[in-house]
């Protein structure tokens, strides 16, 4: 059936005949795996095109939306993680296959006349693929993308005379921002793919013109007859192997999305593995010599490779130059990369930094999935920003929180803060070390300060009181607030607590209870704990965090309010 359709179509369009002619190539040395490398490259390019187009339907190139859209692709979109993984690791595969292809060409001397243009077109193709990979790596706009793109743009800036202009053009302005992303995106999905298609087509045309380069091996007569079909099988076989490996890599390693780009953070940027040698080279050149590492050495190397057809025309000396030069470059690349890897492996600072990066990535992704706060329109993962404020302001110096380093706990614990269990323990015994036991607010009978425990109320009174106090914030609880129970709690509160805690929000002996634990209550309290509506003079151990910006304070309060969902607490 399919055969007949193909035939019908071919008789009218000649398409399949044309296609067969394209792949019918002279193989003087018979079929080989080496020749299949070029074909695997084409298939990987197609894979990048297909997955890339699919990704582009969900990606948004702007400084505020890029990270969020990639988060959405990876964690919400159907099959998104696989798609992004294939595209990401596909780019690594492309570079690897290109380099293998190039090494093989050097090994068999496939650049010699009349293949000079063929050779150069291959190098141009490699450059375009590297550029596509580089522009693509910025697009997720996570920490890694941001910091590892800053370095190459600054390298562009170090080029003598035109550096400043190059950098501004690359960034699309004086600093990274939305224009950097729109420009990189335009290059990545429009300009570069078109150029790659153009050059790759030319490269293929030249391959057909020149045929495969002859090597030492000669095929047997029997193989010769089958060489076309055999090569086809090797081609598709190797391509299938590449695709299978990509699936395996995505399945085993997964693709990471780090925390959103943050120019104020510390980050030890590392380039992709294929740039590690250049990265390490930079460490040897400082000050005015910097340009030697960034421009001169890489430039000389590239020029040498490009000039191979003229340096080696088949004479013994020419061949020797190629072998020595090529080996030297390979050795240098391998050694420098190895040194870079070894240095990081032995650096405690780098290892600690990597752990922080992984922790931040996990937190950002987890908080981005919060259905109440999620990612706001300015692209901030609200709860993650809140936790960052908590860390930046070193709240854990006094407030105990699981998973955070603390110096000397001297304030209420934030484990399960505002959860029913936390409130229950607080009302039962406010002088527990996890509440006010370590503070000036601890109950003092002589002075008449602090609050006595209400354990004597017993159950169900305590739980009803808890339900009422929990309902004051107007926030979500899991399970939801039981209104009947809270109603009974309200009556209890009126009898037992309202003497010291004003419910209308006025100053009273203890902190007021209007919207207790809610956004406004927390914000005001953190801005001034000693305010008469809150803890008064006895709350002066906690600084007034008046310097926090509105959005920082909102993030912090939002984050505090969801601690009740983060793990259970002990009595």
């Amino acid at each position: 059936m399919i055969g007949r359709i193909v035939q019908w179509w071919d008789e009218r369009t000649g398409f399949f005949t044309w296609l067969r002619r394209q792949t019918d190539i002279d193989l003087p040395s018979g079929p080989s795996w080496g020749l299949a490398i070029g074909f695997a490259l084409i298939v990987t390019l197609m894979l990048e095109a297909v997955t890339g187009i699919a990704l582009s339907t969900a990606y948004a190139p702007s400084a505020t939306d890029a990270w969020g859209s990639v988060y959405f692709i990876q964690y919400q979109l159907t099959g998104g993680e696989l798609l992004r993984g294939l595209h990401h690791f596909g780019s690594h595969a492309l570079v690897l296959i290109c380099v293998l292809h190039l090494c093989r060409m050097v090994a068999v001397g496939a650049y010699r006349a009349p293949r000079e243009v063929f050779w150069l077109s291959g190098l141009v193709l490699l450059a375009l693929i590297l550029a596509a990979a580089r522009t693509g790596h910025l697009l997720p706009y996570d920490q890694k993308a941001y910091w590892s793109t800053r370095v190459p743009t600054n390298i562009a800036g170090s080029v003598p005379l035109i550096g400043g202009m190059l950098k501004t053009l690359t960034q699309g302005g004086s600093d990274f921002g939305t224009f950097t992303l729109t420009r990189f995106y335009g290059l990545h999905v429009g300009v570069l793919p078109l150029l790659i298609l153009l050059v790759a087509t030319g490269h293929w045309g030249l391959y057909r013109k020149h045929g495969a380069a002859p090597t030492a091996s000669t095929p047997t007569a029997a193989m010769s007859k089958l060489s076309g079909s055999m090569q086809q099988l090797l081609n598709w076989g190797l391509a299938l192997l590449v695709v299978a490996v990509l699936f395996a890599v995505v399945a085993v390693m997964g693709v990471t999305l780090e925390a959103p780009a943050d120019p104020s953070s510390q980050y030890e940027a590392r380039p992709e593995w294929y740039y590690l040698s250049l990265f390490h080279l930079l460490k040897w050149f400082e000050g005015p010599l910097y340009v030697v590492g960034t421009v001169i050495i890489p430039g000389v190397t590239i020029t040498f490779i490009a000039l191979l057809p003229w340096l080696d025309r088949g004479s013994v000396i020419g061949r020797r130059i190629t072998v020595i030069g090529g080996t030297a470059i390979l050795l240098a690349v391998v050694t420098l990369s190895g040194l870079a890897l070894a240095e990081d492996a032995n650096s405690e600072t780098y290892q600690t930094a990597s752990q922080t990066v992984a922790r931040n990535a996990a937190e950002a992704v987890r908080y981005a999935g919060d259905t109440t706060w999620g990612i706001d329109v300015s692209g901030r993962v609200v709860l993650y920003e809140g936790k960052k404020v908590f860390r930046r302001e070193q709240c854990a110096q006094c407030h105990d929180l699981r998973g955070e380093e603390t110096k000397a706990v001297s304030a209420p614990s934030l484990d399960g803060y505002l959860s029913r269990e936390w409130l229950h323990r607080l009302i039962k015994n406010p002088n527990h070390d996890k509440h006010f036991g370590l503070t000036k607010l601890k109950y003092d009978e002589e002075e008449g300060t602090g609050m006595e425990g209400y354990e004597s109320l017993g159950e169900p009174a305590l739980s009803e009181l808890v339900e009422y106090v929990a309902s004051l914030a107007g926030a979500r609880y899991e399970p939801p607030i039981d209104r009947e129970m809270a109603g009974r709690g309200a009556a209890l509160f009126d009898d037992e607590c309202s003497g010291c805690h004003d419910i209308e929000g006025d100053a009273s002996v203890g902190p007021h209870m209007q919207g207790y634990g809610g956004m406004a209550w927390l914000t005001e309290m953190i801005r001034d704990p000693t305010h008469e509506r809150y803890y008064g003079e006895l709350g002066d151990k906690m600084p007034k965090y008046n310097h926090l910006s509105g959005s920082d304070m909102q993030s912090l309060a939002a984050w505090l309010m969801q601690l009740r969902f983060e793990g259970r607490i002990s009595e």
């Binding site: 699919a54 969020g68 076989g237």
Partner: protein, 175 residues
Amino acid sequence: MANDRRGFLEATAKLCGFTITGAVTIPALGPLIHPLLADSVEFDAEETALGPLERFPIGVPVKVPITANRRDGWTTTRGVPIGAVYVIRGDNEAYRVLSTTCPHLGCAVAASNKGFNCPCHGATFTLDGQRRGDDNPSPRNMDPMEHTVRDGVLYCRFVAYRPGEEKRLPVRSTG
């Protein structure tokens, strides 16, 4: 003999080719079909306070916008409008809360003291939200919203329904 082997080689090559095509194309279809599998636009269907009862005079429809947290793709926006309702206060403290969306094709219905009429295709409704006339283009009465009064404040739970259908079905299964 050689032809058999050639046929085998070519068939195997083709099999590899089809496998690759499938393996790459199928994941690429994910974004395309995603909207059929999961909704990327949703809002919290929590209770909304419409206002204190004094705000609603007897027999005069009052339009109240409904705001909620809206998740649109990857962004969460707090307190944005997701729709609106008319509150009609009857005698004896009876309240009626109707969606402003016309059940015909989703235009916003205009209100007067006599009832509602849709400016797009002329559907008209009584103050109770009942369809008027036999040639009314609307397939059903206006959509009522569940509501309660607590401490002198009127609350409602907003649900968007699919327009153009006789049966009243939610646009999405809210969660």
